[in-house]
């Protein structure tokens, strides 16, 4: 059976009939999971998955939207200090394309980070002074300084890193994982998205639904956005005026009438619908139980920093990520906006780091203390790097940096990732990768690898092609950071 053929495949008998090949079987397992949620919330993705024993069962992606500069975070370049204000040598730039924002700049003055770096942890990794909390977890994280991408503007670049293609239409990473591995908690969505932005800063880059969309996979695999208001999942809240008893009776009546419909039509979709209403009902209690943090002990909240009290903050979302992971939600995708620093970078970078450094580290530590880090994979990073040269005027205290796709820094931690490793190297200008380049497809293959998925074998026939997350070229997991 062709996995392309989803359209009518959402009923149990179809799956049974087609007996375990392709999508039918996936959908079957999704359904079985749903229908047997009370009894056995475990497992059930594509048959044959995972392809090999996974080192991680769940993922948290801490996406830093707008692209944080590598110069002020992880890629220490003391060699640049004496070169300050000198023009970026042509031998480094080698005619590589620039964005339309700086392509016509007359000079490309080298701008060293004004922030200091120090070595930390047993591994002695160099970390910027802007990340004091991350500095304390360096022995738990693997820093990859040699990630490179193909896109040079935000929209195509974020779309590329999240879906493996710059152009809309492909499933997002979380959707692939939900499709391949199925759910572990049928009362909650398999793939959850959380969004935060710096307080009072309107100048962010936007985000798009497609980043957690399901592309050509059925829409059930798309990420469910957890919102900070009193309706954390859209339409979750029973409207005012309906008592719990009334609502329960309504659901019972709907089920009773639908059962009669099934008897006449024999359409298995009707049975599925009955189950979906029950699942919706359970979600109505499972989601609030997840998002209400009143019972978190004070010392835990303090770890995440004062922002944790503000719903919708990055700190609160990090805490929610831990609570989702505790409940075995498969893929938790955070986005924090506001990293696009074309100008006033030193000041904005400082604020942005201050808002995210502590919560990111707290999340890792919190998971570690609960024994969850060992089978949860964390990824921290943006969509590209930033230029060594200043966009706009370079002064003693101020500069900006344009987009730079040719190298940037990302860190990974948790299930299957070796802590205390620094992988890959860039040239003195952090312009080109010198050793161990890691393409976005390699990075994404690594994530899948930790989940026990061979990225080449998780594909779906689309428009006549076998399409997966990592493109058609040869790409490999980054074994250098795996334990």
């Amino acid at each position: 059976m062709d996995p392309l053929q989803f359209t009518q495949l959402t009923n149990r008998r179809t799956f049974l009939h087609n007996g375990g090949v392709g999508l039918g079987a996936t959908a079957l397992s999704m359904l079985l999971t749903q229908s047997t949620a009370h009894a056995a919330p475990a497992g059930a993705g594509l048959p044959g998955l995972p392809h090999f024993p996974p080192t991680a069962k769940r993922v948290i992606y801490l996406f830093q939207s707008g692209a944080p500069s590598q110069f002020e975070t992880f890629d220490y370049k003391p060699q640049l200090v004496p070169l300050r204000k000198t023009d970026l040598p042509d031998s480094v730039r080698m005619g590589q394309r620039l964005t339309g924002m700086t392509a016509f700049q007359k000079a490309f003055p080298v701008a060293p980070s004004i922030y200091n770096f120090q070595q930390h942890g047993a591994s002695g990794a160099w970390i910027s002074e802007l990340l004091p909390h991350t500095a304390q977890i360096v022995d738990d994280i693997a820093i990859v300084r040699s990630v490179h991408t193909e896109a040079i503007n935000h929209d195509p670049a974020i779309t590329f890193i999240q879906t493996g293609s710059q152009i809309a239409g492909r499933p997002s990473m979380g959707a692939w994982v939900a499709y391949g591995l199925g759910t572990m908690n049928a009362d909650l969505p398999t793939f959850v998205t959380l969004i935060s932005r710096p307080e009072g800063s309107p100048g962010c880059q936007p985000l798009y639904d497609r980043l957690w969309g399901s592309g050509f996979l059925p829409s059930r695999y798309q990420g469910v956005k957890l919102r900070s208001g009193n309706d954390p999942v859209l339409y979750l809240k029973t409207p005012d005026g309906y008592s719990p008893e009334t609502r329960r009776r309504m659901l019972d009546d709907i089920a009773a009438l639908n059962r009669l419909t099934f008897e006449r039509s024999a359409d298995p979709e009707v049975l599925t619908r009955i189950e979906q209403y029950e699942l919706a009902f359970r979600m109505q209690s499972a989601v609030p139980e997840l998002t209400e943090i009143e019972n978190e002990p004070k010392h835990v909240l303090e770890k995440y920093g004062p922002d944790v009290d503000r719903p919708g903050s990055y700190a609160r979302n990090c805490l929610l990520a831990r609570r989702l992971i505790e409940r075995d939600v498969r893929f938790v995708q955070l986005y924090h906006m506001g990293w696009d620093h074309h100008g006033d970078l030193p000041d904005r970078m400082k604020k942005q780091c201050a808002a995210t450094d502590q919560p990111s580290a707290a999340l890792l530590n919190d998971l570690k203390e609960r024994g969850l880090l060992q089978d949860t994979l964390i990824i921290w990073g943006g969509e590209f790097g930033r230029t060594v040269y200043s966009q706009g005027t370079l002064t003693e205290t101020n500069y900006g940096r344009d987009h730079h796709p040719r190298c940037f820094s990302v860190w990974l931690a948790g299930g299957g990732v070796q802590g205390g490793v620094t992988h890959g190297e860039t040239d003195d200008f952090s312009y080109n990768v010198v050793t161990d380049p890691v393409h976005i497809h390699d990075l994404n293959a690594t994530v899948l690898h930790c989940l026990g998925i061979d990225h080449k074998r998780l594909t779906v026939k689309n428009q006549g092609l076998d399409v997966g997350l990592t493109g058609v070229e040869e790409h490999h997991p980054v074994h250098g950071i795996l334990s």
């Binding site: 929209d155 005012d240 005026g241 428009q463």
Partner: protein, 1041 residues
Amino acid sequence: MMRSDTLLLLLCCCVWPAASLPAADGDAIQFNRDIRRLLFDRCVACHGPDARERQADLRLDIEEEAKTSAIVPGNPTESEFIRRITSDDPAERMPPETSGKTLNAEEIDLLTRWVAAGAAWQPHWAFLTPVRPPIPEIDDPRGVKNGIDDFVRAPLAQQGIAPSPQAAPEQLIRRVSFDLTGLPPTIEEIDAFVLDHSPEAYESLVDRLLASPRYGEHLAAGWMQAARFADSNGFQNDFRREQWPWRDWVINAFNNNMPFDQFVLEQLAGDLLPNPTRDQLVATGFNRNNRTVTEAGSIDEEWRVENNVDRVETTCTVFLGLTMGCSRCHDHKYDPLTQKDFYRFFGFFDALDEKGVYTETRGNVPPLVALPTPENEERLQEFNRQIAAADATLNALAQAAMDRLFFIGDIPLKSAPEPTIAFPFLETLTPGAGSETATYPAGEPTFVEGLLGPSLVLDGTENSHVTLTGIASPDRSTPFAYSLWVRPDGRNSAILGQMEDGGQSRGWDTLLLKDGRLKVHLIHQYPQNSLEATTKTTLPNGEWSHITVSYDGSSKAAGVAISINGKPAEIEVGNDQLTDSFAVDLPLRLGRRSEMFFKGAMSHFAWFDRALTSDEILAWIQHDLGRAAQNNVPEWSEARQNMFKKFLIAVDEGELQAAQAQLDTLRKERADYDAAIPTVMIMKDRAEPRPTYRLDRGAYDDPDTSEQLTPAVPTVFAPMPAEYGPNRLALAHWIIDRQNPLTARVQVNRIWQRMFGVGIVKSSENFGVQADPPSHPELLDWLAVEFMESGWNLKQLQKLIVMSATYQQSSDATPAAVQADPENRLLARGPRLRLSAETVRDNALAISGLLTEKLGGPSVKPYQPAGLWEELQGGANEGPYVLSEGENLYRRSLYTNRKRTVPHTTMSTFDAPTYEYCTVKRSTTNTPLQALALLNDVTYLEAARKLAERMIVEGGADAASRVTLGFRLATGRRPAEEELDILTRGLNAYLQQFDGDESAATAVLAQGASDPNAALPRAKLAAYTTLAGILLNLDEAIIKP
């Protein structure tokens, strides 16, 4: 329509597969049905058309090549092909493990038996022009209504399966109403149909539905999805666009039953038709519906290429069912489509007069066409007449004023301020020496005729400036002002400066910035101790302007006033920290500040040792003008006279200004009126097409310039007609050619998919060699030929389908029947499908009486939870989602605003695509989020209340009849006793619950913008609303039965 050599090859073995199910034992193996997909899926990626990937120089996609080496017909043991797929040696075994592909034992057996039986090949059926097949003879023709039924019943009979009986009238009218109009039948329509026992009853129902304006809307919803229509550009900030006139064109074309070939022709190439009508231009919006980038810093050529790639993919998918996009980077892995084929097709769009990165400031980007109504045109003409009259009045007044000045010397002077010192720059200036206080440093100063008389020319070089030694530097508590006439010839220059060339840049200046704004610095030490004032308005380049800078000695940026032509400019404050002296012991230099110079002309500099009020500034300009007018005005050039009049108007405070204000108002009104007239983005080619090249690996910056490509269709097909030239018009004519093997099949299949859920070819987006084999190949071809021979008549095609007994079968089934054919591919029963996202909502609006039946117009914003846009938007944005009001809250869902990066939430919950790219098939999921939406979204809560009102008001006196009405509205049928019992018991419980709970009832009724029927008791209405909520959540309320 294939090339003749290919055609010959294919014709000799043109045998249609008889059915789609796998070969059972004893059934003869058929290549297209059984073998093709195995071969193409598992082998052809490495042994096929893609030369780059090809291994061992072996092709298994071409019969001759496969049989020259790998396959020995009739002899599996001698066939390397069989040896390799059965080998135990991992190094030899095919497909190799690294490919991720495998063949199971059953498949190997099938391939072996096929080789043993002679390895008969068949051409790819979809690339052969369809020929009308004979209608098969069936043994039992009872109930057969048209040819469709013969084609469907023949294989059913072979398998011993009986078709289902005719659907009950209630089921049938509901099904056909949804299919043809996307809306449920009314109770009256149901009753009339049920009672009408005439033989024509059903046909007249069908005719009525096809004639309804709702028909075109419903069909358009599908076409809009294929054409990736949306109301936003789709990337990054995702700004609004205005493409809805194209959508309305589609609706009207469907409602008018425009022949499908014409429909294709106008959308692909309406602009290239002789003397195209405005509608034909609007039609070409089809290929401007694609997403477009506006992100700052994006590279034009990169996105021009992406736009065209999208056009290639969309055009090929929608009209031809070809997955052309696969050939962008390399030859197609399966289909005989090369990378060059892709770029030749791409060439059709290379001529488009388009910039790759679109601007963010406007919704629509050229080429476009404005769509004024006749009333609009009339009003614009009226504006033109009014503007011309106002302009004439103003001119006459200005002329009179100038005449007075000249002939009478009537200078309307107020008391002009007394300048401390004035330099008209007349003959007094000599190089090096000059007057006592003004020095021109080098060369011979040149003068041109300016507005007021001879004016000094400065050429923008270092030595071309005037040094004024007589003006002592002002300081931060010294008020001062100056007045100067300038005609800049270029920007990014210094008007004047009295400032250190280096050091702390102490002093003051006036700069003309590169964007034309004026900037004044007062600096003790830059930037810490300085102030900056910049105008928001700009100085026109190449024209005379008057500027005044006045400083009140306050040490604040707010104390700096800059006027342009006597009008105080709005000021933007930069640094505003001046706490020390900015005085310098340096002369004032006109046309220079440090290393910045001035290019252009200047005249009549005047210096004041005090600040000037705006009245004084006007008076001073009048003074300058008046003095100049004493010099031979009649000898002035017309241009100078006109310019002079302009200034007279600018400084006038009486009738001239009033006349100018009148003219300005009219012009602005006209511009606003014009801007409100909708436009639509269309196709329009450049005079000189761009050269087309193959892009290596699809990269925009890597064209293979060794060979320029001419626009053409893929070489596997017959070429385009020659008479149009290699352009979109030729492409369109080729697509609608009766010999084209794909066009009619693809469309017929998609219409079938709309009705039955699955197409005859299940892969409705792909008719290439990897297509799913058709379940009823002869039926597909018969319908395709019928369609073409009917004159591409879409209404007739749909009528043919819905008039068939196959379509009219009951969809009630037994579990055994469902299990035997879960997807109903054999069509032994009627279709039973969940409604589309649009129809789920439209149905609820219709049965509750809320639906607005209004055709066309701008898209609308129905209910959506607050904050969804704001959560994702960046610094630049459209602002929040603002709900439409009144009837626009209840328009059909095809009119719902489509913002591609944040699709309407319940639309996507019910599987509507994001409209970011062409989609011809949706998934149909069944999720808890759908349940939550139907239970808790205000759309359905309000619809439930309105449905409850109908039940009470229209449903008769007793509960049972009211519940029956509600049930009928929701499901189209009468409730069975058991159903009625469940509902009425529920109703009683809800009545009891709300009876004592006024606040709960009030809350239930508060949902939605419409007012509850105040005549009804609140508790009762709340109970009925609850019951109606159940009805709207029934499976039967969201399916087509």
